[in-house]
Subunit: 447 residues, 2 copies
């Protein structure tokens, strides 16, 4: 088969739609292995940056982009009419939730619409965006089957068929920014095809850049796999968050208990509490299944409960902070509060769904005068939910002393905990970072 | 200190109360390391068995008992007046739930009562039974402080004090029957003491037989650790059970999805669905925290939800079985049903809380004619909940053909799945055992 041969000898051109946290490293991986890659993005700001070999994502090194661009293996465009140039099209667009916590399929649908305009015989389309089981078959396939070039078919009037004339697959991304042990090429990749030929083609494509692929029986099974992975995380984080609140009340240190449980050499894996869930996956993905399940008249009660507890956590932190101030005869209203860490996890510069943004809002609602510091985010930008006009405060002695309360929300490795401890009046620690650094006394309150 | 020296040179006598799944292997471990052990049990049937070197637990080999008894390192008695002979007393009694799912503390309280009758200066008492945080301090300590010998104290009227004259600790058992990789001596052991001296003494005791001890700050932290381990398991099993029901409805194979997710090299650990929870830990322990939490006016919602879903699973299996029969125009009422596997997990002979026992009851309620086979349980005995007069049916061609339905509940390794498949009319498989063995067609229904 033509496409399989092209994949084998690496002459297949790869089109990647969406050059964000998933699409960009994937493009670089294909380029590195000798494929020519065209990156597509509706965000026109990204195009000249890539063409100049610049990175716009902290954990993706400029050299990698520059190398791929210089070798003429990677270019970027916002001109989707170039889609027919690609032999394989990989979709890496976001799948957020709307404000009623339902799937926002706009990006997928718009992308599939554009693809169907240009879809041609011989192309493979693979979706990587996390989504509910059925998306590939129910949304992409009908659009593609209706695509003009597919409908037209051969000259003798025979329409083109999926699995014979074009191919459709789902292969969930498993990116983990800043994971020191694993990256795009070394994380096994699950692949599901609409037909066995679709699977064979997609599997060949991914096998040429990734150490191990995991073929499954259907696109639905592949879609469900990614959801299971993130549901597992969401539920387990919520579980320790609930237990933190229970153990707090009983005056038992949940961090000590987790550390002790972690010494069990089988059957236990630690998760840690925090100020709430962040990132583009864990707080969002599980609700894609919740939404789809309703169509089948079943309910995903663990996902709902996890969502409830995890979204409650910023409120819990604010409540603990108010109690700590109250013990010192201060009210939250009028207090100066400094939040440390805005990124949704340590050592990255990504604020998507970060609970710190929620904390700022909740503290402000209670009348606190809120500032923040983040080692990687010098200025807050507008997000879909928030629009703060704030800049990171410098962490020096004078500044720290000004605040009634310092709240550690994200425990960046670069924080000097001794220094912060020394000069702060009161600390609410949501990450156990001060205790881990041996800093315990009445000044540090767990939350 | 006298006791520490005795532990060091292994002349300390160890008294172990409760010679079951926890106490018996622990006694053997102490004996093996050169300590003299007296085993105490209210069940008088066990005493002559041990004295004759016989085992009453399948996975504990007779030779181990015989060796310890022959070396005069291990004897058993039901005479608790011999408690003063022991320098260290370890409590390994059951902590079940009553029929309203509340902690049944009878065994602990009765044991503590007996100990307090005999408690003497210099003794260490360590509790290993899984229980709610606070048990050691709130139940054991007051009884021991009131013990006659402790109250009497020295001749000059000075009462004996915990941490100085006697010692109190909590160290949760982590037994995992049939675990090929870990046993009593190689599973790290968490230890909490009522005072630092209590911890020091208990830690010395366990260190002399176990590869690694994990000292924690209090008995409460140690009690909470064991609960966290089992809550984690209970919740994760319930989560996959819920997802099984959701994916079943969507016609997605949950087993395939779990297998695919397991290829993620970080952040995911597989749990498997089944016909419900069994064993003496996972279905029970979490509710000890639920019960205690109410005293603090907090709720353990994950534990409650997990309990609800896990106890629903046998009903789900029966429902799937009825549907499978219905498709063949048969009713469950009047059908002949054979349940395979009664033990609560594979390759053991323990039926405590086994969902198979519940399945028998539910199938009978629906009018089915129920039989069972188990490789290790030839005859059912009376349990706290059930009293079946049934014997294991032989698995031969003629017998299998007689049944309208075979339900695989516990997937003992010794089952010949090809043979069962070949001769059964219809199979409901709760363990994915037939598919794993390549046996898939309309005859096998997942549940």
């Amino acid at each position: 088969m033509e496409l399989l041969d092209k994949i084998k000898n690496r002459t297949a051109k790869i089109g990647i739609i969406g050059l964000g946290y998933v699409g960009l490293p994937l493009a670089l991986e294909f380029a590195k292995k000798g494929f020519e890659v065209i990156g597509f993005d509706v965000d026109e700001k990204k195009i000249p940056l890539i063409q100049k070999g610049k990175s716009y994502i902290k954990h993706i090194k400029e050299e990698r982009i520059k190398e791929a661009v210089d070798a003429k293996k990677f270019s970027a465009t916002s001109d989707f009419s170039r889609l027919p140039e690609a032999d394989a099209i990989i979709i890496c667009v976001p799948t957020p939730l709307d404000e009623h916590r339902e799937p926002d399929m706009t990006y997928i649908v718009n992308t599939a619409d554009v693809i169907s305009k240009y879809l041609r015989k011989g192309q493979l389309v693979s979706l990587e965006s996390t989504t509910y089981p059925g998306t590939t078959d129910e949304i992409l396939l009908p659009l593609f089957e209706d695509a003009p070039n597919i409908q037209k078919g051969t000259k003798d009037g025979k329409k083109f068929k999926v699995g014979e004339d074009f191919y459709l697959a789902f292969s969930p991304e498993r990116e983990d920014p800043n994971n020191a042990n694993y990256s795009t090429a070394t994380i096994p990749k699950v692949v599901g095809g609409y037909t066995p030929e679709c699977l064979k083609t997609a599997n060949a494509l991914y096998s040429s850049i990734i150490v191990k692929t995991v073929p499954v029986s259907s696109t639905r099974a592949a879609e469900a796999t990614k959801l299971l992975e993130n549901i597992y995380r969401s539920v387990n984080i919520a579980l320790v968050n609930e237990l933190k609140m229970v153990f707090d009340r009983m005056n038992i240190d949940v961090w000590e208990v987790i550390e002790a449980a972690s010494t069990k050499p089988f059957g236990y894996h630690p998760f840690y509490p925090g100020p709430g869930l962040g990132g583009h996956c864990i707080p969002i993905d599980p609700f894609y299944l919740t939404w789809k399940a309703r169509e089948f008249e079943v309910h995903t009660r663990f996902i709902e409960l996890a969502g409830e507890i995890n979204t409650h956590m910023p409120y819990y932190v604010v409540q603990r902070a108010a109690e700590a101030l109250n013990e010192r005869k201060k009210s939250l209203n009028g207090s100066k509060v400094l939040i440390l860490g805005i990124a949704y996890k340590k050592d990255i510069d990504d604020v998507r769904e970060s609970p710190s943004l929620r904390l700022i809002e909740l503290f402000k609602q209670k009348g606190a005068d809120v500032s923040y510091n983040d080692l990687f985010i010098k200025k807050l930008w507008k997000t879909r939910k928030y629009n703060y006009d704030m800049e990171s405060v410098e962490l020096n002695e004078q500044n720290l002393k000004k605040y009634d309360l310092v709240v550690l929300s994200t425990d960046h490795t670069g924080y000097d905990y001794d220094f912060i401890y020394k000069h702060s009046n009161l600390i609410v620690d949501t990450r156990n970072a001060f205790r881990k650094n041996g800093l315990i006394n009445g000044k540090v309150v767990k939350a």
